[in-house]
């Protein structure tokens, strides 16, 4: 067993941002372990993608190519990588922690009798892999002890895409053996749920509402503050799940990614699925009754208190400041 292999994911015809982050994580792991770092791209036509990846400081870039890999399926990707890793016998396999990776990497790891260490936020000497527990309220240090490859996926934004070092890597092709009958699921084309009429991504000020608002009847309190600020109203997932605000106002990994000058998080605890969506915010303000809520770890300003009291007071203060 030797070497680190980074599994690259495609997005709109190019290497996805999170894949460059995984390359940076692979290079970090290489520095800690002294192992060589390589990358694979997977698909039916991978030449362009491989050429992009080959501009980085990697030992090798391999194109795993097969007509049955044109559309992602868990069966196809697992089979292809299983065959490739059986030959290469890597010490580490590094993935971006995307929805696609979550769908097949645990399956792939199981084929090798291993378990994925998923959603890793940092890699320390050992190597020890840090990931969040209890909705971001705790960090856990994980170590791989199994007799086989160590499978790791890295959280979006935890490593910097621009830290992936440049270089020139040789490219080769690996052809897996896949029969149509081995692919049991049939994916359709991707589609949007409803027409997106709210573009939170472009908003300069956003007020976000979370579970702490307690009841749909309290949403107008947040709306009044948003109106006073000239801000858009957004929400964490549970609020949209409950139907208190439309899905198109959801902020986070399954909703919109925002980058406002001011983000005001009301009663949002700060689960990672939400935090990845607000990373680009310039100034984050959190109001929460729980002083230990993880949202305060990423906030510039914080107020610990009851939303029912603090939010109307904020609305008044904003109005007063404008006069």
């Amino acid at each position: 067993m030797s070497g680190i292999w980074v599994v690259i994911e495609e997005r709109d015809g190019h290497v996805s941002r999170s894949s460059w982050e995984a390359v940076a994580a692979g290079q970090k792991l290489a520095a800690l372990t002294g192992q060589a770092v390589n990358a694979v791209v997977i698909g039916a036509k991978t030449e362009g993608l491989a050429a992009e990846v080959a501009t980085k400081a990697l030992g090798k870039v391999v194109r795993i190519e097969h007509p049955l890999l044109a559309a992602y399926t868990a069966d196809g990707f697992t089979l292809a990588l299983q065959q490739f890793f059986a030959v290469e016998k890597p010490e580490y396999a590094v993935f971006p922690h995307t929805y696609q990776v979550r769908d097949y990497a645990p399956k792939l790891a199981t084929r090798f009798g291993q378990a994925l260490i998923g959603d890793v936020t940092a890699i320390a000497d050992g190597p020890v892999f840090i990931r969040q527990l209890m909705q971001g309220r705790l960090n856990g240090s994980y170590r791989h002890t199994g007799n086989g490859p160590c499978f790791v996926s890295v959280q979006a934004g935890a490593f910097r895409a621009d830290e992936a070092q440049a270089g020139a890597a040789p490219v080769s092709v690996f052809t897996p053996t896949i029969e149509p009958a081995q692919i049991r699921t049939k994916p359709g084309e991707r589609f949007r749920g409803t027409a997106q009429t709210v573009d939170l991504g472009a908003a300069q000020r956003i007020v976000g509402v979370g579970r702490g608002i307690k009841d749909a009847a309290n949403i107008p309190l947040a709306q009044e503050l948003a109106t006073a600020l000239g801000a858009e109203l957004g929400a964490s997932r549970p609020i949209c799940d409950n139907g208190w605000l439309p899905m198109e106002r959801q902020i986070g990994s399954s909703g919109q990614t925002i980058a406002p000058r001011l983000y005001l998080a009301l009663g949002i605890s700060g689960a990672i699925q939400h935090l990845v969506g607000i990373k680009g915010s310039q100034c984050v303000v959190a109001v929460n009754k729980d002083p230990d809520a993880p949202i305060f770890e990423v906030a510039d300003y914080g107020i610990v208190g009851d939303l029912m009291e603090v939010v109307p007071a904020l609305t008044e203060a904003v109005k007063a400041a404008q006069q």
């Binding site: 769908d103 291993q114 960090n139 002890t145 199994g146 699921t185 749920g193 799940d241 729980d290 990423v298």
Partner: protein, 256 residues
């Protein structure tokens, strides 16, 4: 359709967390526990499928004695019976070890469909369902918001990033991991709670299932996260704090 729903009991969302003396996990004494959120949605999906197509809903959980009330809650909501894998060392097993327990209990049941929540609110690994599918050699799909039964199997709606979705067709038997928010959750009725008392809960010990428990991944230590930013906490009563915050946003951060 015979559906098995794998559920997990987790600490309540708002529970106060204290790290235990060995810094290996959290202090469990005095913690309040609840049904994991996405597992509640998996159970709801199963109950709705049964209402539409008939069949049986069996809940399956691994955990120590304290999971009893969570099993009763699932039965009160409408599950027909339960299997409890009595396992005091769940935390010492990794995702593969836990899935091996569940797979050993699922296999003799020969279900048409196995549902789990997308991920647990405590460990958040989001792997149990996918590994379970591999161990049972069944097709799977994850992050599912909606399930339709078709003549040849299922059509499911899978969530992707940034507001995108995909429809996926797959044959049964299959394993699906259910994302929160696809359905409206029901509450247990008084009648449901009453009926639950008479429903079967079969207990099997982890030892009886005789699966490999040796972990390949270990959680060595837990710690409180370090702050990424230096947060200015603004003191005072709501009115004072609000005025002080607006002042700072205007003149210090210059975002107003």
């Amino acid at each position: 359709m015979k559906i098995i729903v794998a559920i997990k009991q987790v600490p309540e969302r708002d529970a106060q967390i204290r790290i235990d003396a060995q810094a290996k996990w959290i202090e469990e004494s005095g913690l309040q526990y609840a049904l994991n959120e996405s597992d509640a949605y998996a159970l709801e999906e199963a109950l709705q499928l049964k209402e539409k197509h008939g069949g049986e809903v069996v809940v399956l959980t691994a955990g120590p004695e304290r999971v009893g009330p969570t099993i009763r809650e699932a039965l009160a909501k409408g599950a027909d019976r339960a299997i409890h894998i009595n396992c005091a060392d769940l935390g010492a097993r990794d995702a593969l070890g836990v899935a091996r327990l569940l797979a050993a209990a699922v296999k003799p049941e020969n279900p048409d469909l196995v549902l789990t929540g997308l991920q647990s609110d405590d460990l958040g690994q989001g792997q149990t369902g996918v590994i379970l599918a591999e161990l049972l050699d069944l097709p799977h799909s994850s992050l599912i918001l909606h399930v339709d039964k078709t003549d040849s199997g299922l059509t499911v709606k899978r969530e992707l990033e940034e507001g995108w979705f995909k429809l996926i067709e797959l044959p049964t038997p299959a394993v699906l991991t259910i994302q929160s928010g696809g359905n409206k959750l029901r509450y247990a009725t008084l009648m449901g709670i009453k009926r639950a008392k008479a429903k079967e809960v079969r207990t099997v010990t982890a030892a009886e299932l005789a699966v490999d428990a040796a972990p390949v991944v270990i959680l060595e230590r837990v710690a409180l996260p370090q702050k990424q930013k230096s947060t200015q906490m603004i003191p005072g009563n709501p009115k004072e704090a609000a005025a002080a915050l607006v002042e700072k946003l205007k003149f210090e951060a210059r975002v107003l």
